[in-house]
Amino acid sequence: MSLNIIVCAKQVMDPETPLSAFHVDEAAKRVLPAQGIPPVVNGFCENAVEAALKIKEAAGDATITIISLGNNFVMDVMKKPLSMGADQMILIQDPAAENLDALGTATVLSKAIEKIGTVDIVICGQQASDWDNAHVPLGISEMLGMACLSEARSIDLGDGTVTVASSRSDGYDVFEAPLPCLITVSNEIGEPRYPTLRGIMQASRKSPETWTLNDLDLSESDVSPVLTLSELFIPASNRQCEIIEGEDDADSGRLLALKLREEKII
């Protein structure tokens, strides 16, 4: 039986954007896109794609569908999961869905998953590097009434079940849940593979489907916010760094230790 795997992937500002290029419009409460630095697929989402591909390789027969909710999609960026080997992609884009809170986002994504039909596994990155919420996937599992296992470092598919290991501070826990199951993955699941030339060629021939809220039978009132962004700012560093200078580098090191002792830091 063919397995249906869904991966949620998000387009985000490149988290490696240097601080000098990171600007906030405090009045509009939004982060301004960094000039000349293209967005990327969120790192943990790429890990999720990698996890899905590994499951597909182990299972033999599976379809991997990528879904993404966003705006101003850069197609070269968003097609990366397809070039890595995913089968198809659905982009959800709607002016009414540009500033959703997490509850609204989870509502849209779970509706989209319902529309796709029978699903065995939903895989998501554990958090997105823009808003760092780390809970939209958990919300999707609640809305779909699926089992939910979070922060996986490995996934093994059984017969109608899935086994997942999640890191703990002193080791790891192994969980088992029935399918369908939603799993969030950490970076420990493995480095995302590089797209091959063949993969890039195949992806270039695929055109993602585009859905709007209307396609999901949702109206703006279905996604009204329960949490409002009231302020957004770049924190002023209140730390004034005292640079310790000695006669030479070794002397500086010695003076640094003395200073830390004097300040009762060590």
């Binding site: 988290p15 490696e16 601080l19 990171f22 509850l103 590097s129 823009d130 808003w131 760092d132 919420n133 780390a134 809970h135 958990l138 919300g139 599992s141 809305m143 699926m146 939910c148 296992l149 922060e151 290991a165 999640s166 501070s169 002193d170 080791g171 790891y172 826990d173 192994v174 969980f175 088992e176 849940a177 029935p178 970076n187 916010p225 329960v226 949490l227 409002t228 962004l229 009231s230 957004l232 770049i234 924190p235 560093s237 730390r239 004034q240 760094c241 005292e242 640079i243 580098d249 070794a250 500086s252 090191g253 010695r254 640094l256 230790a257 003395l258 830390l260 002792r261 830091i265 060590i266």
Partner: protein
């Protein structure tokens, strides 16, 4: 009277260290709203309930059920959900522990209410009387304040150590309510198959009061032993930036940052770390950051309280030697 419910976790035979922290967060909100602070103690006993009261809880829901399996979020979630349906709290606070960060969000979605994750602070908005939560976003590059709309409960997940627990005071009084859970099998979909301990030498990164951070500036894996030597003086641990782990110099379990561990030591001594926001997202709550780096323009000096601009190969041995003398004297 309306309630603020904190999810008090258990660690081994005692309360988890976050239980007292969450009570303190709850009390801060309660001071402005007049709510009582209740603790949901799931899978605990009377003794732990008394400890919660001595830490400042006004009320404890003591809830037990055979279906509760340590480490499995589903059961705690089902239990907390039942308590919330019954008590109708205005606010629920959990901690950003593995269980707390799974249970808190799922509870919010199950009840259709809002949630703020990884909060450094909470307060009550003067105009609306609703909770405002302050949290880092964009890997700590920006801070955001979120205010909850008119839907209860407002679910807040606190960063570890964001609040300090009160000193336990056994003269504090409170009420213990034995809460009947009667969980159904259908409440619990996943099960814990096994818990595997991985031996790590010395102190765990998350528990260390002093961390020595290894950066790309060290040029290779060899200097690790020197950092370890320094960490040992303080009974501390060594952590690393992503670049160091990606290069294979150290295992990913050492990684601090957005895609790694979040640490909150008293002192974080960074060596050859530039302080990329990716990294700072995991350590910006350190009480003191100390930087040793040859590039005086590096971002780490914007975050550090004390630093040396110089060649680590010369600075570090002198620093280590002096620190050892100071601590032994």
């Amino acid at each position: 009277m309306s309630e603020i419910i904190i999810f008090a976790e258990i660690d081994g035979d005692g309360l988890h260290s976050t239980a007292g922290e969450l009570i303190s967060a709850g009390k801060k909100l309660a001071a402005d709203t007049g709510n009582v602070v209740s603790a949901a103690l799931i899978g605990g006993n009377q003794d732990l309930a008394s400890q919660l009261i001595s830490l400042g809880a006004d009320k404890v829901y003591l809830a037990n059920d055979d279906a509760i399996q340590k480490g499995v979020a589903d059961a705690y979630l089902a239990a907390l959900h039942k308590i919330c349906i019954n008590a109708e709290p205005t606010v629920v606070i959990t901690s950003k522990t593995p269980i707390g960060r799974a249970v808190g969000p799922r509870l919010a979605y199950r009840l259709g209410s809002g949630i703020a994750q990884d909060c450094m602070d909470v307060s009550v908005d003067g105009d609306s009387g609703r909770v405002t939560a302050t949290r880092p976003v964009y890997g700590g590059n920006a801070m955001a304040k979120f205010t909850f709309a008119d839907k209860d409960p407002q679910v807040v997940i606190m960063r570890l150590k964001a609040f300090e627990a009160l000193e336990p005071d056994s003269s504090r009084s409170g009420e213990v309510i034995e809460f009947e859970l009667s969980l159904d099998d259908s409440d619990i979909k996943s099960k814990l198959v096994e818990t595997v301990k991985e031996e790590s030498e010395g102190v765990r990164l998350e528990d260390a009061a002093v961390i020595v951070g290894m950066g790309r500036g060290l040029g290779g894996p060899a200097p690790f032993s020197q950092l370890e030597e320094l960490a040992k003086i303080f009974n501390g641990a060594v952590g690393a930036s992503r670049a160091v782990c990606d290069a294979g110099w150290l295992d990913h379990s050492y990684q601090i940052g957005l895609t790694g561990k979040t640490v909150t030591p008293d002192v974080y001594i960074t060596v050859g770390i530039s302080g990329a926001s990716q990294h700072m997202a995991g350590c910006s709550s350190s009480k003191n950051i100390v930087a040793i780096n040859k590039d005086g323009d590096a971002n780490i000096f914007k975050e550090a309280s004390f630093g040396v601009v110089g060649d680590w190969e010369k600075v570090l041995p002198a620093f280590t030697e002096t620190a050892r003398e100071l601590l032994e004297s």
